[in-house]
Each structure stands twice: as C-alpha cells, then as structure tokens.
Symmetry: C2
Subunit: 272 residues, 2 copies
C-alpha cells in the first residue's frame, strides 16, 4: 500500500484543517498563451502556474481565477487562489514561483487568505483597459499591447458616449454568443467607463461588477465606431436597448486588452 | 553577355544622375536582433530592411544608418538612407516596406533627400532613453523595454547628478573598450540629461551630438549607483575627470535602451 504522503498527486484531497489557502496577484503578457484556462497540450497561464506550483510544493495544485482571460489577453492584476498542505512561508510563493515561471508570467503578490476564499465569486469589481494606437504607421514598440487603428478617432466623443454605459444595464448587445451559449443574466453594473488620449494612444478604462464574454472588446469596437463618426452616442444607446448579442462591436482583437485589477470587499489581510 | 538591367544585383552601381536617395525613419523592437549592423547568417535590422528593399525595388540596396544600435537595443527614430534607380513614389516605401518587413521593424516615414545625404555624418544630435523598472517584482508587461532594478532609487539625486554630464566633456570613462578599440576623440557634447520617475518607471533621457560605444548604458549604470546611494554626484564627476574607459558604469543591459530621435541641421524636406 502506498501512503498518501508518498504520492503528492493525491495530497490535494488532504483535510482542509491542515491546508492553507493563498491568493496570488499575477501579471502576464498573454501573447504566447491560448488564454488563461487550462487546455490539454496547449500553453495556458493556468497550466504554467500549476506546473510551477507543483515544482515548488510537490503537490498537484489546482488554481482558480477571478477572470478567465481569452487567448492573447494580458493581465496586470489577475487574482488566482489555491489550497496547499505545504508549510512554505508566503514570500516563497513570490520568489519561488517567479524563478520557476516563464518570463511572460510573474507573481506580483502572495497572501494567505481564508480557506473559503473564492477569487471569482467574491470579487466585487474588475477593471480592464483597452489600448488603441491611433496611428497610420505600424509601431513595433507598442504592437504587443495595443491594437492599431489608422483613421483619426475623436477620443472626447468616445468618452462622452462611454458615459451611456455607466450604471446597471442589460448589456446583451455587447456580448458575443459563443457556441450559442449566453450568460443567464446579462445585467451588469458598470461603475466607470472612460476614454482618454495620450499622444497617439487612446485608452478605454472600464470597471464593472463583472463582464459578459467579449464585453470589453465589443465595447471598445462600438466606441471606435463613435470615434470614427460612423455612429452617434444615441445610436450606441439604441444598440444597448435592443439587447441582441453581437449588435454592438465589432470586437477588437485581444492584444489591446488588459485585466488591470480585481477588487474584493476587503483587503487580502482583512479576508484572512 | 548578361545585361546590367537583367541583373538587379549590379544596379547599385548605376549612374548617380539617374538615382534618387531616400531617408527612412525606422521604429524597431530590437529584442530578436543581433543589433542593427549586418552580420552574415544572423538576424539584423539592416539585413531585414535590405531584404525588404530588394523585394520591393528588385535592386540590391545597401543602407547606411545614423546609429549602429547594439544587439537587443530598440529604436523609435533610427534614420537610414539608401540610393535607388527605381521610380516608386515615396509613399510606396512606407506602405510597401511595412508589408514586407517583419512585425518588429516598421518604417514610420520616408523622404526623398539630396544624393549626398549621409545619415550618420550629417546628424547634429541623437536622443536616447534608458528605462528602468524600479520594482522588487518581475513585470512581464514592461520586461521587453525596461531593465528592472529592485532597490529603491532616488530619481531626484540621479537627475541632479546627470547635470554634471551636460556640456562638452571628455567622456572616456563612460566608454567601453571593445577589443581595445576606442574612438579617436572621446570629447562629446551632451546637450541634455534628465532622470524622471513615473510610478515605478525611472527614465534617463540623454541627448548629445554623438555617443561613445556603450556610453548611454554606462551612464545609466553610473547614475543607478548614485540613485542607490553607493556613490555621490561628486564621485561621478571625479570618475569623469579620470578619463579611463570602463570606470563609470556598469553598463546596464540593452533591453532598456531606445534610440528615440536623430536630429539634422534642417528638416528632410529642406535637405532635398
């Protein structure tokens, strides 16, 4: 008979009383990954972090995330969580994982949290940015993290139109139907939506309790229609009122999207 | 007998009266390249641009540059020049080359210039930035274009010390001797040197008529010694006065360095 201790793969079933739960804040360049979520035989952020955790702790650790970012999408403040029966100090998760992870994924912070901490369900808001390089010329120094649009965009008109989105609305028109599967409720609470210009860079910053699939990329696409003078803010409002998936857009490519921050009801320290 | 016209490789010897000279402003992410300068069998910026020009014009075109950036160094405003007997309009060099070049090299501008235009000799100044991410944590979103230093740097002290460098000085102490080969004169005129902090990003901006080999990276390294409190501004001044190659530094890695701009006595239009 093989003892459970000799088989680290089975340790995840260990008694909750002897395990600790940690939350990690991750930053990643999503360019090389087929998204956050684990897919067999393909590079994913979850796959890389779980592999590094296994090397560090000897346990087959399953992590859960605040947001399942799509292929090519970046993050500055993704939050993931896992349980471990290991006794490493919290700093070891920052330094150890940063040595083990590939250079395009990093752990910014690690915190011990309550054993029932759930990074997705307990999050009160997510903040994303969508970066647009508004330039007729290709730009290798920004191409990795910004989508380029050549015609001049009116960022102020985009910002004014974005205010229509603030509040509790049915955002069905901003969702993409993926394989016919649409979220049950399409009501979301957008607490902030701003578009600002810094030189050639036009940035949408949007915060909500949660987002529908492709909502930020569709929102950025619809605001570009406003910025290019193809539709008005009133048109955008009407699209929202029609509540039909796929109406507002088109979705801009993933490279410009970045999950900036996930907010919880209290600090990680207070949630222990 | 094969005519010269049927052999594009020989057309570069064409009569100067029938050729046009162009200047290109290039932006590139130098990460994947063994530097600007052509090296047989290795990826270089010059090699890629010459390959694209050959595909566009049918001619074996040799380009010359304002500055031979090292392996891994980036550029937002490198200037190169070449002569061609082709009759393509100037816009074709922007659009045609941008379709042919790899995604990490782009042509920002193309200008017809006088046939004796020399991008290196006629340049009156070069501006470089050196970017330092001053953070204890790895950052995949900035790692490509900034060197990370963990201990807190005093950017104001670095900026004050940088003022010592402004003016005409012998910068021998800031040069790296590469294979014992040192520039004949080590006098340079630094017209501007500033260090500023924006959040965790500490940026050195330095402009001079020309730079010695590794001068900017050695300068950034020496200023980091000041910012970390290991040497004083007065020490930096003494190092400069000693005029010994390799004294000031150490040279910081190439990823943080970017050739921002090359300045000429007049605009490209006025130099026709």
């Amino acid at each position: 008979m093989v003892s459970a201790i000799a088989r680290p793969e089975t340790r995840t079933a260990a008694d909750a009383r002897t395990t600790t739960r940690f939350a990690l804040v991750l930053e990643y360049d999503g360019t090389a990954y087929c998204g956050y979520q684990l897919q067999a035989g393909r590079p994913t952020v979850q796959g890389e972090v779980e592999k590094a955790l296994k090397a560090l702790t000897g346990e087959a650790v399953r992590i859960s995330a605040a947001s399942r970012t799509d292929a090519g999408v970046h993050a500055r403040g993704q939050v993931v969580s896992f349980r471990t029966s290991g006794t490493l100090p919290v700093e070891a998760y920052v330094h150890g994982l940063n040595h083990l992870l590939p250079c395009d994924i990093a752990v910014r912070e690690a915190h011990p949290v309550a054993t029932d901490f759930n990074p997705r369900r307990m999050a009160t808001s997510r903040e994303y940015t969508y970066s647009i390089l508004n330039s007729p010329a290709r730009s290798p120094l920004t191409a990795r993290f910004a989508h380029r649009i050549a015609p001049l965009l009116d960022a102020r008109a985009m910002d004014r139109a974005a205010q229509i989105l603030v509040g509790v609305h049915d955002f069905a028109s901003f969702a993409s139907e993926i394989g016919g599967e649409l979220e049950k409720s399409t009501l979301r609470n957008v607490s902030r939506a701003n578009v600002s210009r810094n030189g050639a860079m036009v940035t949408l910053t949007i915060e909500a309790n949660a987002f529908l699939r492709h909502q930020v990329r569709n929102t950025a696409g619809a605001l570009v229609q406003v910025g290019a003078g193809r539709i008005t803010a009133r048109d955008l409002e009407r699209l929202m009122e029609l509540r039909q998936p796929g109406l507002a857009g088109p979705a801009l490519p993933p490279c410009g999207l970045c999950l900036e921050r996930v907010t919880y009801p209290a600090s990680f320290e207070e949630m222990r």
